[in-house]
Symmetry: C2
Subunit: 443 residues, 2 copies
């Protein structure tokens, strides 16, 4: 006897969980019409059973009993929305071992424990879906996994974190310092009380780890992704970016390339990046996300939408639930491999060291305003083989004060730039650490 | 015994067919790695068996025998790339009746005969996939069908035809007349010798018919979509659009709304549209396509990429082949319903007449340059309840010459605008038919 409906159990009834309950109940008619059968939220578990969530829970069991939910035969699919690493991991593995399919929005969990989880789910023949983990409501993972599956993926450039994109947009618009805008973002609810994960690029790196694996069939390898956040940017950087025709975005970048000797490499990195004004990615403002994917057949593509928030995230979670529900009803557990390649096909692929990358750079130096300083800086660069495309020296104050010196380089090897910066930071006239922002022109 | 590989038969070996053969053979390794089994091009049928296509056909049978291909037990999936209506229809229905799955890029076929084809495929339990039919390589149909399946779709705005977008982009950039740019587009291969289907919006309307059905679960109803092309636009329209802060795009628009009395309606239409400069859709230039979809949970999303061309279209075709191949291997015929809703669930939903729509308009009049003319025009508009937001009168020549008069209206009911234009076109001072371009602000 086939069950009339497919049952969903929700673990974690916070913001996203509330959104999932709202979409499952509020859009039940359109969901059933699309599926041909109902998808029913049968049970919710959360330690906080008291707070009012503003959702009608008529007919839905709600208590703090997570093990009971996992064991409940009415629950076909478990939605993991507790966040974090350890409890989420054991909960997910428990659910899988009991033959439940799992939907999660937890990129931290997957970036760190994904390999273990996908191996367990492949072994049990159950689905693990996570569209909500990258780009919120944007169906970017489906695009990579299915829509672009015929392509060799060449590059992925993503604005993957709404908090940092909001801060960058507002810093540019207002000319205010990072700390001022961060405080505003916190007041508006766009940034957490402890914003480290977002502003230091960790959240973007979690997401990039998933995108890299799905693009290139490489093992999930979050820890080796070089990651730099946005807290070191100052208003002058935005002003100069505008002058040179760029905007600054925190990008997650993953590319596949070949060295001069023909050997393939992949690169993956998260850092503030200057990209040409007028490119589509440069126009993505506020808390929105976007991912530009280039495939060898399809060429450039771009996907844009809300990267976070109650309902956009729920849109992705419930889309995953519908896909798994169709699979259960059709007698298969899942069609495309969760990471696009079957987990057994994933190979360890060493990331190319940042030092080997070649690109143009924006450099900001802080130096005493004294004759000959610019010559010292440009000499040091020249000695490392770095040639200069443009120079701007500003804010000449009283004699002996520190002023910023801005340079744009021609394409240069990053290890050479680093060595030159180290040398320049040792000059007696240089009064604060130099800052580099990488430039990407391909967008 | 399960077959080792899944076999593909290609009918139609022109530009797209060649692209499909290139991707299937050139990317066979990555395709097999993602699927876990090989997808093999086993047979090609085309009347022209002589032309050199630049693909290595080693091991692939190639002749003019379409019936033989359809009957070949080695062929699990038929790719229909012959184009047009009648032969494509009978070929597709034949393939389905022989239990073959079908992948097609033929929007004309599906917009006109889709209902019959999807009913036949549902009856036979085989898949019909057509990602390449809308937006070329952009996986927009998958996004609607699966990624956004949990949403009530509120609106779809699409730049759906690369030829017209190229012409519009170049008319704006160069200030040249339509005919001049069209000729250039033909010389560059962006427009066909007979460009009617593209420039008069028919191709966009075919695609919009599919998007409308998939968004709202309405029956495929291409014929009732009001369609207006770009051939009536003149350089002044682009100049004025820029002055008022807009760009002109040929948009396919589908929306769901409610009348004042609460009754639901859907609207679908194709016409040149002024949209705000700086919106993402306004920045889509040249032959590229993009579709903006708004869902009730996800909010605004956008999908961008190459809307045509050998390899981008092949990317979508082969993605569909991979999805169907996974389904065959997994023992199911297809997961999500091709039109997002099962074909039996599609309901006839009458489109709202254009006359009932309310919006702002750009109006261009051509009138003798004589005192009182502007008063006649604005009086006629006022009598139909249309109020004016901005006026621009230009190009004052010698006395008695015709000059353009440009008006932007406040939101007005389209039937009132039409009635006023009819009246104004009857004025003795008005020397050429007036032109309206609708404005959409929501983007």
């Amino acid at each position: 006897m086939t069950k009339e409906s497919i049952g969903v159990g929700l673990v974690g009834f916070g913001t996203i969980g509330t959104g999932v309950a709202k979409v499952l109940t509020g859009n039940a008619d359109v969901i059933e019409r699309r599926l041909g059968f109902p998808l029913r939220l049968v049970r919710i578990a959360d330690l906080d059973t008291e707070s009012e969530r503003g959702v009608d829970l008529g007919g839905i069991r709600f208590d703090a009993d997570t093990p009971g939910l996992l064991a409940d035969p009415e629950v076909d699919i478990v939605v993991e929305l507790v966040g974090g690493y350890d409890f989420a991991r054991s909960l997910t593995l428990d659910a899988i071992s009991q033959g439940k399919h799992v939907v999660t929005a937890n990129k931290a969990l997957l970036a760190v424990h994904g390999q273990e989880i996908f191996e367990a789910s492949a072994g049990q023949g159950v689905g693990v879906a996570f569209e909500a983990a990258v780009g919120g409501g944007i169906p970017i993972l489906r695009a990579l996994r299915e829509g672009l599956a015929a392509n060799r993926i060449e590059s992925v450039y993503g604005i993957l974190n709404g908090t940092t994109n909001f801060v960058l947009t507002e810093m540019e618009r207002t000319g205010e310092e990072f700390e001022v805008i961060l405080k505003q973002a916190q007041d508006l609810g766009y940034a957490e009380a402890d914003p480290t994960f977002d502003v230091e690029g960790v959240d973007a790196a979690h997401k990039l780890a998933l995108l890299t694996s799905m693009s290139f069939g490489s093992s999930l390898d979050f820890k080796s992704i070089p990651t730099e956040g946005i807290s070191g940017l100052v208003p002058l950087d935005f002003e100069m970016a505008r002058e040179f025709g760029y905007r600054i975005k925190l990008l997650g970048i993953a590319k596949q390339g070949r060295r001069a000797d023909g050997s393939p490499f992949i690169e993956a990195r998260v850092h503030p990046t200057m990209i040409p004004r007028g490119s589509l990615l440069a126009d993505v403002d506020g808390a929105m996300n976007a991912v530009a994917v280039r495939g060898d057949a399809v060429g450039p593509t771009l996907y844009y939408g809300a990267g976070a928030g109650e309902l956009p995230t729920a849109s992705a979670v419930v889309g995953d639930l519908m896909e798994i529900a169709r699979g259960i009803r059709g007698g298969v557990s899942g069609r495309a491999a969760p990471l696009s390649y079957p987990v057994a096909e994933l190979t360890e692929q060493k990331l190319i060291p940042l030092g080997e990358l070649v690109g143009r750079c924006y450099l900001r130096f802080t130096a005493v305003d004294r004759p000959g300083v610019l010559a010292h800086i440009t000499n040091a660069l020249g000695q490392h083989g770095i040639s200069i495309e443009a120079v701007s020296q500003r804010g000449r104050g009283h004699a002996g004060a520190s002023v910023p010196v801005i340079l744009l380089t021609h394409p240069a090897k990053e290890s050479n730039v680093r060595a030159a910066l180290d040398e320049i930071d040792g000059l007696s006239d240089v009064t604060a650490p130099s800052r580099m922002v990488r430039i990407e022109e391909e967008l």
